[in-house]
Symmetry: C2
Subunit: 395 residues, 2 copies
């Protein structure tokens, strides 16, 4: 989920290879970033009978028309004679919030449909393709003749809807970790000071990332030190986002109305995670507060800290299918140490802070031998002004 | 000093802009990387009277012909009628190991000479250009009409001969630091284990970097733990390099002949840095050793550790004008903390090691406030396989 710059759509009539069309479809898919969850991001491109660009579209918002429908909507039957529809995910076979895409396409004079991924639901996988084939339309899974492109595109096709796939396969919340460190891996001074490590270009991108996840998660230390707004401030994005605060002992809960957070967000959008053991006490005290966030009660570990697996399970039942963990140092380290991070977005600024007087984002992570190091899979590097960012999957 | 992949020279007759020619000249200059010190890296390109590529060359080895001579050597006076010579540094006015380049060019039917930098020696700066002008040749300092290119090229023109410029301006050894860390800034486990953090592509590039510096510097911990060869193993480079070992207490000196280092290098190429206070004792003991490296005696600080400023001054007098510090963690940290690092090459692997059980490369570096952070200037990012590398100037 890391593209806000979409590929430019070519002029109608421009010849495109299948690889180019699939790449454009992926780029289109990302345009739905802020609004489609818990649905997958899906993009689609339509080529005419001669393989020339006709139209493109994406799934724009949850409950709205699917990508294929948006791509096809302005095309006539004349346009579509012998056309080739490219879509990142298998057209749906079933009627849900919207009619079946496969059935819709089956009625059109389309010649061929190529999709990037088979529907991950084994109960309906291949059914969309089957509907198309029965209507005499060729329906096949994407394959590139270039092995390297094929391999890369498979990774990108999974990535574009990775939270959805993770949710579907594991019934768990997808966790992304965003960190901003110096070149020597430090995220704040011991005093707590951390503003600013990265530059404005990086920070703008972080606001985009916030919009792509169902919730933004921080530890109470971040609130205590920075008193942040934790909203989305991006020139192209308008979204009321959800915020999750990890505050096991409810230390900050009773000061809620003094926090900037409480001014900026509706209370229904703030999820306050506290220890289950304190439930009775907390519920009583909260009644006396002028305003209060939603409460999420979480099991604790032997040491008394919140059990992060249970925390994620509670968030999943609250409908939060993906979260962006933004720190601070200890919260980030705990998620890494417990092996709960799916994707990392690591911004680094070209500065040295010195580990002698500052905090690392992995201080609770400890390996015994080099063979136990934690790998970032399929790493990709982007630069933002003088900073760079690496992103990849851990889990 | 970070290009081993040179730009391809264009086919003779290909039109080139001045910017393109200067870029090629910079790339040519880097080809001299392993062999020109203490001379500067210099590259040159010759265009014909119509601005088409004729030839290119570089300063290949210390004492050998200068870049312009190599670029011009196979061209006839016919070729050179109205030609434009582009060179990264002002053609020399004086006779040294080789004849004056300005005087040589002055005899040719060349129309114009453009050079990237004025000679840094104020006593001769501009004299090369003056000789050319007197011969009726236009001689000017490079300027791009594109402001962004102009700015970038100025940085690159300084960079290509940065060690030379630093030596000349400050009479000090240029220090580059090469580190390989995990994404969380760790360079070794607490046990000392560090092989391997980065992949083979990064490691090959490090062997190239070794060849570009007069000496490779390590602390005794690295020798103790890894017993490394510290030579240059690169498919395209043959060079007997020099090694500097920082071993203030002479702990490893007496085991010298058991170290792999002593098998791989001639003793005249190994510089062993020990505390000045131990001079008498060390000189006596060393006489009894079957073989011994060169000894460099260094002043100590109050705490008894070697004074790194003095260490660099001693190396300078030994003719080592640039060193690549390769670690370990504490040695690197000391150089950063003392503000002695000119350039950094920071390789990062897409792995997490966890700071809980490992070592940072800045553990003795401590800043009080964010405003005191150490900046990497003009950062550039390169990728090597799954790793990335940032390089830039600190000093």
């Amino acid at each position: 989920m890391d593209q806000i710059q979409s590929l430019q759509r070519p002029v109608k009539g421009t010849p495109m290879s299948l690889d180019q069309a699939m790449e454009l479809a992926i780029s289109e898919a990302y345009q739905g970033g802020p609004k489609v969850s818990p649905n997958p991001l899906v993009g689609s491109v339509v080529l005419d009978s001669e393989g020339r660009f006709l139209a493109a579209g994406h799934h724009e918002f949850y409950g709205g028309p699917h990508a294929e429908v948006n791509a096809l909507k302005n095309l006539s039957n004349e346009d579509l004679k012998g056309a080739h529809v490219i879509v990142t995910l298998e057209p749906c076979a079933h009627e849900g919030k919207t009619p079946s895409c496969a059935k819709m396409i089956a009625k059109l004079p389309v010649k061929r449909v190529t999709f990037g991924l088979i529907d991950p639901n084994p109960l309906v996988a291949g059914q969309g393709a089957e509907i198309l084939r029965k209507a005499g339309i060729e329906a096949d899974v994407y394959e590139s003749s270039d092995l390297k492109i094929d391999q890369e595109m498979r990774i990108r096709l999974e990535e574009v809807c990775e939270a959805f796939l993770w949710n579907f396969r594991h019934k768990k919340t997808f966790v992304a970790l965003k960190m901003a460190s110096s070149l020597d891996g430090q995220v704040a001074l011991k005093s707590g000071e951390s503003q600013w490590i990265t530059g404005s270009e990086s920070r703008e991108y972080v606001h985009y990332l916030r919009s792509c996840y169902d919730g933004l998660l921080v530890g109470k230390g971040t609130i205590e030190f920075d008193n942040p707004s934790l909203n989305i401030r991006h020139p192209k994005i308008q979204k009321d986002n959800k915020v999750i605060v990890v505050d096991g002992e409810a230390d900050l809960l009773y000061k809620f109305s003094q926090l900037k957070l409480s001014e900026v967000h509706g209370t229904e959008n703030i999820f306050w995670c506290v220890a289950e053991d304190l439930k009775e006490e907390v519920e009583k005290k909260v009644k006396e507060l002028p305003k209060a966030p939603r409460l999420v009660f979480v099991k604790t570990n032997v040491g008394g800290d919140l059990n992060l697996e249970d925390l994620l399970a509670q968030l999943y039942t609250q409908g939060l299918r993906s979260v962006l963990v933004e720190g601070g140092a200890l919260t980030a380290s705990s998620f890494v140490q417990k092996g709960l991070v799916n994707r990392i977005y690591m911004f680094q600024a070209p500065i040295i802070m010195g580990s002698g007087g500052s905090k690392s984002w992995t201080e609770t992570v400890r390996i015994q031998e080099m063979k136990d190091k934690i790998f970032i899979q399929h790493p990709r590097y982007l630069t933002f002004g003088g900073d760079f960012m690496i992103t990849g999957r851990i889990l």
